[in-house]
Symmetry: C2
Subunit: 323 residues, 2 copies
């Protein structure tokens, strides 16, 4: 069986691009060209249907335009869930479409629960009856400890699936808890940041479960924000078996220079997400809204160039890749 | 506008019972009487439909049976999400049905995200277009800090909604991170557990946002497991404005004696959840599966008696309540 990390690297190499496009369409700001009717003129139920179908169309056009440039998409569950059952259907259709085109699909759900409930999440996202046929990986929140992670391990080992554990997130208030100084038992004076402990513990789980693949990476990755480059460099050392999913590039202020520190010496080990910077690029490029797909393509090409240039500058451009 | 905490207390007083029934039906173990066909004989799509409809029927019968005994239900999103769009529809129908009967509905989603994504969750669960008409409260994970909480505040202030922040969860591995010793800046030698810091910070957010209601409680509650009675007592002191949602009673080993410590001196400030202990009571009571509703009623009556007796023993039975 192919390990999830090998799947990622094979895809990244195929297109020479570690970018991820976040498919986070906001119902409120959808280009009107993807909507069959003006939602404001409809009753609630019809509005949900029209918006969900609009989101599905929007995503498909983005996917078609970035096909061959980007190899990974990451829909965030929140935007689909907000439209109830219609949104979930749009999410499924989006994932199916991306999968058919050969994309790797990461569901950004930040799910977390315990025992048989965590099992239900694992089954729902990775099982054949749920999203298993069209989703490759899921983001998970570690606050509840290993009980949250354990039910996924079966799917990592047997079904080539992956999870990304939230370690240090890109938002300003990630400091509220993630940056707390935790006392280390062995030495009364020394402390570590909570995100460091989460990183070490995650690495421990990978080793205990024997998940390090032949290439050293495992199907348990980590979410580390581009907005904290210093932490990114520290965590790169602490988590040798984890591919980093780096959000925060672009709209949130993270630069290619910053994310370069999340890659290993060979230029692997990280994937970089941009959502609004790509899917709403028509706004920034001052193009008419019907050109949102074309604009996404331009932005995706620019993002690839930006990141690859930073990797080259840091002497981390993978062998054989051309900018 | 009625504050969420007042809504809870008014409901609890009406039926003299602080119990919550967790509507966590597992597709695999549904009584066959709620299924139109044998799911194993169907293709994937039809199987999902039959299971989701089965779950909806199962829930409605439970709700009808506990009506008048229990006033709060808590469906966990994982079990619905596992059945895709059909499951989400079943969740919505369940919530609508419970709401119509006068129940308070807590969606156990443990959701968490940042910025505009957290806004999408808030809108999805509390907005009119989403679950807003049938869901009163949502559980949220605090690992990402206040950015996760902030988008909900509008709905707490203006729409009588509530959230429950995960503080100390009922599972064994909650110790992995929640029990870590965090160094407190002011004093180099003193430490606090991470869950204590989360508790204090949550309390701070309540005060900063001016959310303490007239009765002292606020719409921001906390999830604290029945399986950790000592922590429950400590946290009761630290979080004077938070109603505790206490999972872990029954199936997970928490006793009425233990949960009593989560209540304030007047016998308020906590609600106690049981899921499997109620909805699958027919198994424990050795009743035929068609009697699952009746069995749930018996178990709910017993649970009420059990908890009220423990409150009485601790001199915390609310004034006027009769066991």
């Amino acid at each position: 069986m192919v390990d999830f990390s090998e799947k990622i690297f094979s895809k990244i190499n195929e297109i020479q691009n570690p970018s991820v496009v976040g498919l986070d369409p906001r119902a409120k700001t959808l280009p009107s060209c993807v909507l069959d009717e003006d939602p404001e003129k409809l009753d609630d139920e019809e509005k949900l249907k029209v918006l969900a179908l609009g989101i599905e169309r929007f995503n498909k056009e983005i996917i078609e335009n970035i096909d061959g440039i980007v190899g990974i998409v990451k829909p965030n569950a929140a935007f689909y869930e907000a439209l109830g059952e219609y949104g979930i259907k749009a999410l499924k259709e989006t994932c199916k479409f991306a999968k058919k085109k050969g994309f790797i699909v990461i569901a950004d759900g930040k799910r977390n629960d315990i025992g048989s409930t965590a099992e239900a999440y694992a089954k729902g996202w990775f099982g054949e009856l749920g999203f298993g046929k069209c989703v490759d990986a899921l983001t998970v929140n570690p606050y509840l400890g290993f009980d949250t992670i354990k039910p996924f391990v079966h799917y990592l080992k047997k079904k080539s699936k992956g999870i990304f554990v939230l370690v240090k997130t890109s938002n300003p208030s990630s400091k509220d808890f993630q940056d707390l100084d935790v006392k280390i038992e062995e030495d009364g004076n020394k402390t570590k940041k909570l995100y460091e402990i989460v990183a070490e513990k995650t690495n421990e789980w990978i080793e205990v479960e024997g998940l390090e693949g032949e290439g050293g990476y495992s199907p348990i990755g980590a979410v580390v924000g581009a907005t904290y480059p210093e932490e990114l460099a520290i965590l790169r050392e602490k988590m040798p078996h984890s591919i980093f999913l780096i959000p925060g590039y672009g709209f949130q202020g993270g630069k290619a220079e910053d994310v370069a520190l999340g890659f290993d010496e060979n230029g692997y080990g990280a994937i970089v997400n941009s959502s609004r910077g790509i899917i709403y690029a028509y706004q920034k490029l001052d193009l008419p809204e019907e050109k949102f797909g074309e604009a996404a393509k331009i932005a995706a090409v620019n993002m690839r160039k930006d990141i690859l240039s930073a990797l080259e500058k840091h002497n981390r451009l993978p062998k054989g890749w051309k900018i």
